[in-house]
């Protein structure tokens, strides 16, 4: 049991890259929530490959089929299952890899865990393709949250060495929408060119680059979450590290806060329109694992795509001898930009779960 998360809203992801289908079960959705399929498909489109030279040339149709959980376009209280059929995989591209684990990939650890029985064609259950059903779940969660005035947006804060600016103190729904509509999801349009250059340079060298993603959520009430191990940070991090290639998660100023003094990092309280706010938001909207009501802000680090064309040293599992590996096939020189909606999706799913759980502070 490993591909599930959530407490009141439980999300379970299944499928292998080259299996029959991939999908998601969402158990615990509130009933009576309309799903806008156009909006959902537009959200799913944001993570799709094949749209530009920045991504793999593989096409994925990714049109979800809903097997359960909906009636007349609205959630009906029973678990929702949506599946996406797999089609057009070229499994032969991967045959050599069965015996030669790709550096930076889960090939070796899957072999170690499942004693050689794992279906690792196309990355199997570890494939980035599995983020498509995650986006179905998150896309549905986003719609339900938006009806309560809670909006989630993210941008590519860096790619390789190229950097975007960071979110302003109070990002808005409109800002989130404008970022999502750009060819690369950034705040500062100038970053598009420097990032594209970085990605294409890596592609040119048969190499890849990583990046960082900043995500914010606005409209959350104060008092959500709890101390210690089931706080907002714990639950978000636990889910975000489920996105393939994520190697770091920080909230508010995160690692930068470690270099600040308390007088810089503490957010002073003040009153605005009768509400308690803070003048800065180094805390990222979370104190003691509980929301302050200020925007929730987090950043995630995406490692460079491990599948690269450059020859690499590896071993043959069958004979434990060292060998060289050249990975053929169509690969992403960067997945960080495609991971932007995935980070939003996971954040939305966790926040909806927390909202459904509610604030149990008093009864």
């Amino acid at each position: 049991m490993s591909s599930e998360f959530g407490k009141i809203l439980r999300i379970s992801i299944f499928g292998q890259s080259h299996g029959k289908a991939i999908g998601v079960v969402m158990d615990g959705l509130p009933a009576g929530e309309a799903i806008d399929m156009n909006e959902l498909n537009a959200f799913l489109d944001r993570r799709k490959p094949g749209k530009s030279p920045l991504s793999t040339a593989r096409k994925e149709s990714d049109t979800p089929v809903f097997l359960s959980g909906l009636e007349d376009g609205k959630t009906c209280g029973s678990p929702l299952c949506a599946v996406i059929e797999n089609a057009g995989q070229r499994s032969k591209d991967y045959s050599e890899l069965q015996d030669k684990p790709r550096p930076g990939h889960a090939d070796f650890t899957a072999w170690a865990k499942w004693s050689g029985n794992a279906d690792m064609r196309g990355g199997g259950h570890f494939s980035g393709r599995l983020t498509a059903p995650l986006c179905i779940a998150g896309g549905i969660a986003r719609q339900i949250l938006a009806r309560r005035g809670i909006y989630i947006g993210a941008h590519l804060s860096s790619v390789g060495g190229a950097r975007d600016m960071l979110f302003p103190l109070h990002p808005t729904k409109e800002l989130f929408e404008s970022v999502a509509a750009k060819p690369l999801p950034v705040l500062n349009d100038h970053a598009i060119e420097t990032m594209e250059t970085a990605i294409l340079a890596a592609k040119e060298s048969q190499d890849s680059v990583g990046g960082t993603i900043e995500c914010a959520a606005i409209g959350l009430p104060a008092g959500l979450g709890g101390p210690m191990f089931e706080g907002i940070e714990n639950r978000l991090a636990a889910a975000l590290f489920g996105i393939p290639a994520i190697k770091g998660v920080e909230f508010g100023d995160g690692f930068s806060a470690a270099q600040m003094r308390g007088s810089q990092n503490n957010d002073a309280f003040f009153i605005e329109d009768g509400e308690i706010c803070t003048k800065t938001n180094h805390a990222g909207g979370i104190l003691g694992g509980i929301t302050t009501g200020m925007p929730l802000v987090l950043r995630a680090a995406v490692k460079p795509t491990p599948s690269i064309g450059i020859p690499q040293k590896t071993i043959q599992l069958s004979c434990l001898e060292e060998t060289e590996l050249v990975i053929h096939g169509r690969h992403d020189p960067c997945i960080a930009h495609r991971a932007v909606p995935v980070v939003e999706a996971v954040t939305a799913a966790v926040l909806l779960d927390l909202m459904l759980e509610g604030n149990h502070g008093t009864f």
Copy 2:
């Protein structure tokens, strides 16, 4: 329910800073494990304040009393409960704070969550003091893991701007022990002076500094953990963010990996003494959420202590008016060094849980 973590080994922390006692229940410990009390107390001493001008002058006795779970010094299969009595709190130091939430603290969010009913004297359940029972749990877990050849060590990788070196590719048990024995837990002795200077400078200004902690675990088998949401990173991060003041967690090269190319970040496999190893360990010993058998490496960011003597802007909750706050009492100018054994403790507890769960890849 928020102060618990674990799956097979379930750890539950209770207590408020100024309540009668604080403690921990460990449910799911294997039976027949001797607890070396001297070793445990030595481990607990590492997080204690009052030992130098780098920490608060408060003394904590922190001697655990075991109410259950042991017979003749060995675990007996039933839940272990250990408590530490509270004594010598000066609650009057905190009386003003009931109405004036300290910036950077959980005072405000606790008030929002529990509608003013929280016991926040001395930080209540959010106090750093609650890391003492966490260290009891982790100290016990360390002993059980050590018997299986699994060792965990950590060091202060930075304080404010002052930096230590990072762990070598293969840290050893002896290295962990030597770091733990130093006045500040660092690899490079030169860092002691620069870090002490940074801490004392902050103290001088009635201010505080944060820091980062690097933690490693050696001796883990390959194949532990799982894909997606219950992987090693997910479970460690979920628990580590339970340590007060932690705002970021990264594995292997983490956020730095986001700036690398795939060819730099991928760890090439090779064979050494018949074992599959990697020549580098950018992955921090984890691929696809599963251990590779290489050292597990993580870093955590500790924000600067929010309790500072400098006057700060805040509000009065009773009348929603803005005011100024001066925090009196004895506070830590830095807690990052004291958090080093706490990060080890949480890592040990999570790894023991994972080891007890075992590798369910095949049956």
Copy 3:
């Protein structure tokens, strides 16, 4: 979140009776386990309706399609998803019921819970049809357990007033198979006629009957489970009450034990072939929530099918007025016999989960 169970092996059921499909996700299956599809389909056939006048005339094809989790007929470590398409529902039969909750059904409580948004056509997610994916899960679990010498069998211990005998002290695999092959799954062939008579008499009167099911598992090691809340009984009961219409669960002598004296109910230990056994098995193979190694024995009570043709008093939800309801359509005069493999399935799934978790008593 409500339609899932399990700890290491997590089983999630989805679907509505008249939706597009029903199905199951099994997360945590060990890899490398061959699934014998003929054996699985034979097991699924045991719960199918439409085979005799004892059940509804509805035909269900119930052929599972595997979307994930298998490669070359063997489990591959990633979550297994199997679906059964729905076809041939006559939703019009149920239109009147939307406003008139059927006595004894979940119609009213679903309306109360989901504020009228539930899809209750054909019973929706509460339909007995959802036991088909449960049987897929249990059928797979049975095969994996059987390879380890653990066998599970059940029989119809009573229907209405007609009774079968109870399992002998040591039921065998062969006994389980012979019971499963009979037109009604009973130990004593004479019970077939008396039970059929009871069912057909109820059918004649447009009424229904309930029954009890006795289930046993042999081959379990001693030491599985644990004290208090995660013992064998707790986990089996928690899952068994998930089968629609189950209203009671007892282990060993259960409610009868309450009428015994200790001297009658205690099972004396003795040695047989070097193994510790008991001469009787009033405990049903469980002491203190932990297996003794003797056969595990449980009984479940199945209430009479609530859908009956006799006119019943109910209310109209739309206007809160009292009314009469006549349920048309094809219904089961008894579901207890069809629930026999379902009880086996749930028992198998829970026991496989417990076996995968293993005995964590020592490390």
Copy 4:
């Protein structure tokens, strides 16, 4: 991990019969709830032994000390820990038992699970004494529920062959109180004498008797719980089987329903004072795992106390030879009457957890 239950309100029990102390942690209690200590102690008194010849002559002081979770007599949002010190155990009474497992006890299974490392003095963690901290948890839950108009009561429905009547359709708070105040908790005063006779006859023969307990909860809203595996029945049964000696649990008519026809067992809906009610309550207030709003009714079977004075056959674990065992010491000829408040306690704890979770049907 085995001695915990609950989802929002998590209850963890620790301690061994002859260890230093036993206790409970309640994580997730709402803040601001006053605990009436007199009322709590009165509730705890109901399970105490030593009050009459019907129980063991052992005295237990059972006065809880609260280590955390309270401030000024009210819950404060952080985990509540209460402990009861052990005193006056005569461990020597149990020395022989270490090697000779008592029939009907967990001695053998604990030995099998923990490889001989369990502390089984006085029954260890399996002792009925551990129901004292359960009653602290339940006693607190009762007070919180009572403030919301939810009341829980139970009575001894049978002891050995002697029977009490069953609860009326609508039991009241006053009825619950009057039952609790009697020397034996029964509805029909005539049952007191027949039950006492049964218990004393067993005692006379150095034997023991079991019994059944009927428990009801009134004031619950409709719509609580959910379908399949997290319904009311699942969660109550999972917790109730955690009470030592419980071997069966049924809801509503339970096993009797299996002998009824649908027309008898279905509860007809009608309108009373604008509320939807049922004229009978064979369902025990639960349909499809969800509350109907009618009284919740359950029954639990308590096996006869396994500790009896009559010589019994057992084995010596050290040499695997058969032997005879005579259990000395002070034992209960019946524990069913003392288990009545324990069943109430567990029911209260589960219902408070469900109430805190709330009805997530819509958002």
